[in-house]
Symmetry: C2
Subunit: 454 residues, 2 copies
Amino acid sequence: MAERVVVVGGDAAGMSAASQAIRVAGSSGRELEVVALDRGHWTSYSACGIPYWVAGDVDGPEGLVARAPDEHRRNGIDVRMLTEAVAVDLDGRWVEVVDHDGGGRERLGFDQLVLATGAAPVAPDVPGADAAGVFGVQTLDDGDAVIRRLGTRPRRAVVVGAGYIGVEMAEALTRRGLAVTVVDQAPEPMTTLDPDLGRLVHDAMEGMGIGVVTGARVERFETRGDGGVRAVVTDAGTFDADIVVLGTGVRPATSLAREAGLPLGKSGGVRVDDGLRVPGHDGVWSAGDCVESYDRVSGTWVHVPLGTHANKQGRVLGTNLGGGDDRFPGVVRTAISKVCDLEIARTGLGEADAAAAGFDAVAVTTESTTTAGYFPGAAPMTVKMLAERSTGRLLGAQIVGRAGSAKRIDVCALALWNEMAVGDLAMTDLSYAPPFSPVWDPVQIAARRVADRV
Amino acid sequence: MAERVVVVGGDAAGMSAASQAIRVAGSSGRELEVVALDRGHWTSYSACGIPYWVAGDVDGPEGLVARAPDEHRRNGIDVRMLTEAVAVDLDGRWVEVVDHDGGGRERLGFDQLVLATGAAPVAPDVPGADAAGVFGVQTLDDGDAVIRRLGTRPRRAVVVGAGYIGVEMAEALTRRGLAVTVVDQAPEPMTTLDPDLGRLVHDAMEGMGIGVVTGARVERFETRGDGGVRAVVTDAGTFDADIVVLGTGVRPATSLAREAGLPLGKSGGVRVDDGLRVPGHDGVWSAGDCVESYDRVSGTWVHVPLGTHANKQGRVLGTNLGGGDDRFPGVVRTAISKVCDLEIARTGLGEADAAAAGFDAVAVTTESTTTAGYFPGAAPMTVKMLAERSTGRLLGAQIVGRAGSAKRIDVCALALWNEMAVGDLAMTDLSYAPPFSPVWDPVQIAARRVADRV
């Protein structure tokens, strides 16, 4: 008889896991019945694409769907939409599910359980946070709600939180013609960068006409008579808003896991081994934005909710569940973004992370250009690089610059992955031609300068 | 008393070596007198920029000069231009030099000798190869000659050789309004790529209006009554030409080294150790386009004339000569180029290289896009990747695609450098956001597909 696999969550991690499990099981002769549940309307979509849908670059929501429920069904997955898992009994081996369409409620037995419940926006715990017109941006349904609000022709937007989602949504709303103010508690935007590089983002955003208010704590959201949001009140002033977007981060959506007694890490994410199994719980798996990942640089477990990890973890999980053997080797915390034509990227540890992880780090910031300096369109780019003082080992890098800058972070990510010293990175054989790089790639200039200091 | 260092050749390798030697000697208390000779008019220039100067993108020749003779003089280097070293006596420790300006000839003693004599274009050994209007493109003086010829308003150009310089010059001359035909002996352009990827370049060049004639051997250059070139005669037809550019490759310019009895490798390049010393010859050094470099993938010594290596080798040489300690760790044969909006890159071994080096290789070619497929401007890119069948070790990669494709080769170069397996590369933490990449980077899609086959 086929083993039943219940997958809770129909986005990247869950559906990658489901698809890969069927594929691998098929070739290993194992028989699986895979049921995938999602409480929303969409499977396998790019939540990262929502800002570009809001900006009007992309037709959504269908345009952001990599694989729709019916495609998954044709691949043999029993996909049930608008279906929410509300409880798990690990001993009884069942999930209690609610059908938000038909209204039914049932117990669904499983042999193998995959929790891919993702992450949920963190709303500031202040009055008015649930007002109409205040939006998180995590699911296509969220994106749809923002788009509908834009149909009411709002003029002023406030984005709370200046991380990746915040700056991307600030660009999107600016391009839709709104006057946008971004407020953030931190001294500079993009706290995944060190403040000196965050300052470059700050200046560039102001140059694009986006208001940036830092060091500002939100105290409450004021509403109109109809309950809709009217203003964001902070300790640094009140900002009128017809629409508010929350870019205040996400946390792992692990209430099911917690109630079922699964192990959670400090961040609240599910603890998994490198095969995406939940330790101590046979036949229970988890992947994607709801789990913690091993940070290869600091040696700690961290919550890094990104589609790239969700896809890779889902695939590894599916391979193992299907009878194969694969492992997810961890992360180095690489991330990339843009706000208008400013590109932003980071990998590894920043100065504060490095100190917290106990490293004595040397940091150097260098200015260079994306192409040979004499080449038309040569654009400025700033690279900050950190290395361990005693060994020269690369610890992290951050890049802020114009078109052609940010994807270079991948070289730093791969150097981190291989625990290279900055002096060695400086001498590697990276590509050079005038339209693509100065003769010393900016990453190598940075590496050389840091190497001179360790 | 100061040791005298004579540097022969005033471009990247020679002048990097000279500058770094003075810098390092200064901090180590060593006293050096550095004399640098060049037979041309320019020091420290970007020969790679010549096609962009010809195209009109860049003002030349000054715009391509990173550091002029007077700047080097201010740093304490005795730079002598239009001065050619014509003989070396290693036992007598002198170089015979001819002053092409004043006309003098003298013996210049040295304690340390640096040969940075570069490479010279290989002209086809056929009648008429020395006709007026037939140009190599190796020095700024060559570039200047091409520019002057363009002042005579030629209409038809033939480029002989479809390697990097050939395709770049084909673009440049097309953009100057000439009708351009590229002829090459090989079955496809860009023999640094495998023929299947070369075919993509072929098709794209034809799409840009450039004539591409492959499998054609040049038999002679026909001249007019005034001695100027009139046509290129090949075994595949005769092509009228008012100007001919040779992109038939370069060879190490090592006549001085050979006559002095220095060891040369198979390619004709000077053999050096990883400190850029010439083995068996105390106080004799060499770097740049005239030396062989160690190929870390095949374990052989190869001639890779590129500014990026010349700069790095010059710096390492200078550090060691100045009393420091550094090493040049070799190459993986990374290269990048473009023709109009088509980007081309390679690293490591192609199929023929891999077979020649004794590897049993698996090769897979994948199609992907530069950004998320739904993102506006998502451009096609093709990645071919090779791995060793028994171990999965990455052996090489080739990329052909539109804007944003080619610089991704650096990830492959760094993976090769660290001897990564393709399965491991597929799981590394590369950056992802929709404007920059699909959720699986094209390099990782390729790596995953190869990994599935090993």
